[in-house]
Amino acid sequence: MSYGEGSPRPASGFELWSWFFMRISGLLLVFLVLGHLYIMHILNSVEIIDYNFVARRLANIGWRTYDWVMLALALFHGANGIRVIIDDYAHRPGWRTFWLTLLYVVTFILLVLGTVVLVTFPFPA
């Protein structure tokens, strides 16, 4: 147990915003992700999806924005969720730092990768 006798622990308000963000992003994700899944997996299917399919879809700037917003929200939402989980289970300070760093790095890389694709994907000439 790490808290001292009767001493208030520091409060930054960060957890409040994290909590709030999880809920708001969750709400938006309901539409984005379920919509995405519906289009990709129900209306279409992996059998149909190929490079051309993706290319056609991304030709539309609207879809690009849709995908990017979804990507970013899902990443942040998911990463924050994982952060909470790490906080829960990784108690040794060393390990906790390790996992958290790993998470942040991976999230950042993925965000960059995802953004790069969406921005640079060649528009059909």
Binding site: G26, L37, H41, D50, Y51, A79, G81, L113
Partner: protein
């Protein structure tokens, strides 16, 4: 997870564990998904090669699980949000779980049928 064994908790406990599992699962998938989409940047051959893997039957079943996970996570997430922002919902929290299961089934069963139908059809 050994910690959770043997405690006969409320339905809330199971709902939460599933939420956590599905959350992590989706996150892992998302990571993979970003990578594969990124590969699309390398041109059609590479991407189509990756998509071929997704078409393996095993992956198609996993896809169903993924959809189930997302649907569950979404529905349960909504339930949590309702409880958080609408005080009166606390009174009905048990009914909410029942409602959640129903909504989940209503969304998931048809989806699964369509998707598995493809696999076998």
């Amino acid at each position: 997870m050994g910690l959770y064994r043997g405690y006969r908790g409320s339905q809330g406990q199971w709902a939460w564990m599933l939420h956590r599992l599905s959350g992590v699962g989706i996150m892992l998938f998302l990571m993979m998904h970003i990578v594969d989409t990124f590969l699309a940047g390398f041109g059609p051959q590479v991407y189509d090669h990756v998509m071929a893997i997704y078409r393996a039957p095993l992956f198609m079943v996993l896809e169903v699980v993924l959809v189930g996970g997302v649907v569950y996570h979404a529905v349960n997430g909504l339930r949590v949000i309702i409880i958080d922002f609408w005080p009166n919902a606390l009174r009905w929290h048990k009914s909410l779980i029942v409602a959640e299961v129903i909504v989940f089934l209503v969304l998931f069963i048809p989806a699964a049928v369509i998707m598995l139908g493809r696999l076998f059809g």
